[in-house]
Amino acid sequence: MSNALFLLGCPESPVQTAIALYLANGLKRESIDVTVAGTRSAIALLKVSDPEGNYVSKTVDLDSCIEDLAEKKVDFDLCFVFVRNDAGISYLSTLNSISDAKLFAIVFGSDADALASMIDFECEKIVYKTGHNPVPLKNRIDRVMKWDV
C-alpha cells in the first residue's frame, strides 16, 4: 500500500477533523501517502490544526477529486470516506463505483447505526455513535488498522 485518500464530509462534527489527523498520522508512520479531499471548510479545519503539514501534506477540492476519479486520471490504494449524514452515504457509494481502492467507511454522529445499515456493498465499516468524543471511534480504528507500532 502506498497511498490513501480521505474523503471528508460535512465538518459540523468535531470528531471528523480529530480522526482524520489521527488516521493520517498512523498511515504516515507506515509510509502511506495521504491526500485529503473535502469542502473548503473541512480542508481549512485540517490546515489550521496542522499548519506545517506534519500529518497531511496534500489536499484537493472535493469536486475535482471526484472528477479525477471518475475520469480515471487518478486512483488510490486505500480510501476512507467519512460518513455523518445521508450525503456521506452518497459519496461512499460513489467512491465504491468509481474507484478500485480498498474502501473504509468511517461512520459517526447521532445517526451512525442507521447510516451504517444503509451500506449494502463490501467495505470495511468503522462505526461509532459519537459527535464530540473521538476516543471510541479512534479505538475502533486501531482495531481495524492493526498499526505496526
Binding site: 465538518p11 473541512a42 469536486d63 472528477e67 471518475a70 457509494s93 465504491n96
Partner: protein, 83 residues
C-alpha cells in the same frame, strides 16, 4: 444556468422515488455519470427524469444533503437516450 429546485435538503432515496414516480421517461445511471460538467454523486442506480427539454437529476452537497434539480438540457437528453 437556470434551474428549478424540485426537492431540497433531502435524501438520495427520496430523490430517486420522486423521479421514478413523477416522470414517464426515466434513465438509470451509475454514480460518476457526467451531466452539465458535474459528476453525479449517489447510490446506484441514480434515476434521471426527462420531461420535455428538461432533465431532472439529483445533486448532492456534503453539508446540505441532496437536491433534485430540473434544468433545460437537450444535449444531455440526447446522451441519455443514446445510452
Amino acid at each position: 444556468m437556470k434551474y428549478e429546485v424540485l426537492l431540497k435538503n433531502t435524501s438520495f432515496k427520496e430523490c430517486r422515488e420522486y423521479v421514478d414516480t413523477n416522470f414517464k421517461e426515466v434513465y438509470q445511471v451509475k454514480p460518476g455519470y457526467k451531466m452539465f460538467d458535474v459528476y453525479l454523486i449517489g447510490v446506484p442506480p441514480i434515476s434521471i427524469g426527462v420531461d420535455g427539454d428538461d432533465v431532472i437529476f439529483p445533486y448532492t452537497k456534503p453539508c446540505y444533503g441532496t437536491f433534485l434539480l430540473r434544468i433545460r438540457g437537450e444535449s444531455e437528453i440526447e446522451s441519455l437516450r443514446k445510452g
